[in-house]
């Protein structure tokens, strides 16, 4: 059985198509990624799957329940960690979890036992009686992940789980996500615009652009699509036609004054390429990344859409605006 199944799922806002005929089948027990730039429609898909927003057309089932007609059962089956913090910062970590357990109708004993377990899982036991106000961004995110897990959901949704966190906290969160996939054996759906995050965590992912699924597969499979290594050249007046004639060069793309070549067996063939190109300012040879996959399919880099920023940044700009 598929734990999530959507058919032609579509959402329009005032004529604007945010999600366009998305059909997905997700098996149980995966870490599944929705990868794409900001504004691609990832969060909207999530909001529909969690029954918070109704689809304009199409249908979606979560754990076998229809998101429109059986939203109560859908809600019992899922846990969700939102992009922006949604814990109450005037309450302690423990109180936030208790509140959550009561909202989900958990029996008192089970609730207290689960609170202990999930706090242990995210290493917050020692801080459970501190107000959330005093937590760092990473701790707060961990608390909310713990909260999302408390009621034993079949599916846990994580909307940009490391957005706005510093590199060290990101690594920590990744560890927790991998740990809980292992220990709790649930399906985890992650949305992210970080290529490295999707690459590291997901067993399978779809790349989404402008509300549509661009490509679907495991990170390894997707990177193989590129069919070689990536060679990036910084050079002036390169003869692109001549480079294209080389039989081991599969693709040439020019972007921001750089040449991106897809090359079979780059380590052997680099010398020949350089002979053709002539004077080069800089060369970079690397294995393909999901970024290259995205570029391959859409002709854009995913970084283009990154300016929007996360919740921490939003808090900062708010503070700056109010002059504090």
């Amino acid at each position: 059985m598929h734990v999530i199944e959507t058919k032609n799922l579509t959402k329009r806002y005032n004529g604007l198509v945010a999600v366009d005929n998305v059909s997905l089948k997700i098996e149980q027990g995966q870490i599944f990624g929705l990868l794409g730039p900001n504004g691609a429609g990832k969060t909207t898909i999530l909001m529909m799957l969690t029954s918070l927003r109704p689809p304009t057309s199409g249908s979606a089932r979560v754990n076998g329940f229809d998101v429109l007609k059986q939203s109560d059962n859908v809600r019992k089956s899922i846990g969700i960690v939102f992009q922006d913090p949604s814990s109450d910062d005037i309450l302690t970590g423990y109180e936030n979890l208790k509140l959550h357990g009561m909202l989900y109708g958990m029996p008192d004993e089970l609730r207290e036992q689960r609170i202990e377990e999930v706090l242990e899982l995210v290493d917050l036991t020692a801080r459970k009686n501190d107000l959330v106000k005093k937590y760092s961004g990473g701790m707060r995110r961990r608390l909310e992940i713990a909260r999302g897990l408390m009621h034993h959901p079949k599916v846990l949704f994580l909307d940009e789980p490391t957005l706005g966190l510093d590199p060290q906290s990101r690594e920590h969160i990744w560890e927790y996500i991998e740990k809980l996939a292992r220990e709790e054996k649930i399906t985890i759906i992650i949305t992210t615009h970080y290529m490295d995050e999707a690459d590291k965590l997901c067993n399978r992912l779809v790349i989404i652009d402008s509300g549509k699924i661009v490509v679907d597969g495991s990170p390894e499979k997707l990177k193989k699509i590129i069919g070689g290594d990536v060679v990036v050249l910084k050079t002036k007046n390169a003869n692109v036609e001549k480079i294209k004639m080389l039989k081991f060069v599969k693709k040439v793309e020019s972007k921001d004054g750089l040449l991106y070549l897809t090359v079979a067996n780059a380590s052997e063939n680099l010398q020949k390429i350089l002979q053709v190109v002539g004077k080069v300012e800089r060369v970079e040879v690397r294995s393909p990344t999901l970024d290259d996959v995205f570029l391959h399919y859409t002709g854009k880099e995913i970084k283009d859409g990154e300016a929007e920023g996360g919740w921490v940044q939003r808090i900062m700009t708010q503070r700056a605006r109010s002059g504090k």
Binding site: M47, L52, R75, P85, S86, L103, G105
Partner: protein
Amino acid sequence: MGELKGIYALWYREFKVFLREKSRIVSSIVQPIIWLLVIGGGIGSAVSFGGVNYQTFIFPGVLMQSALFSSMFFGVYIVWDKKIDFLKEVLVAPISRTSIFVGKILGGATDTIIQIVLLLIIGFVFLQFGFLTGLQLNIFTVVAALMILLVTTVGLVSVGLIIGSQMESPEGFQLVGTFIIFPMFFLSGALFPIDNLPPWLGTIVLVDPVTYAVDGLRGVMLGSSHFPVLLDFGVMCLFAVAMILVGTYAFKKMKV
């Protein structure tokens, strides 16, 4: 069962927050005292109504003012839950919107009634020192006053929640104060008798639901009122029921 627990959960959260935000409790007590001492004492030096001094005359109105401001702002405050995304966490839980609404009302009513009880104690102290005179504070009048205030509070929290559920961001907060709460207070006859008002003012006053609450409180605590106390109480009950109905509807339609 699950719904009841959910309602309790929401009440639990509101109550914890109320206990923790001590500045809110303090200001909700200090402000009415200033009204009684300064406005009451100042204007009371020149006028008196209904055979009691002015401080005593406005005491029911000041109680009502405290209930009005705290319950309305409590309701509108839901826009803050929206802003910090706490509301999403609640809306995605498997409980009905009606239960969420009821939980909020219970939370707001608890806050307000605690404040009112503190103010009644202060009123009792003032009475002992002769600053207030002729105020009837005994077990019957206190229970009756609390019943009127509870029903009124439920209606007012609902109004606040209706407004808050429609608001997108907390920036409109001031507007609610200026255009809804202050007029409701000043037009309620909390500060003046409504017996001989000019016709235009008298009409507006009768449209303001708070008028009936103040009148009822005055009837109970001072023994004189414009309308029969039971009529006042009936109007407030109708008001509360109507606002609950509109409020649950607004909550069901609320978008995230």
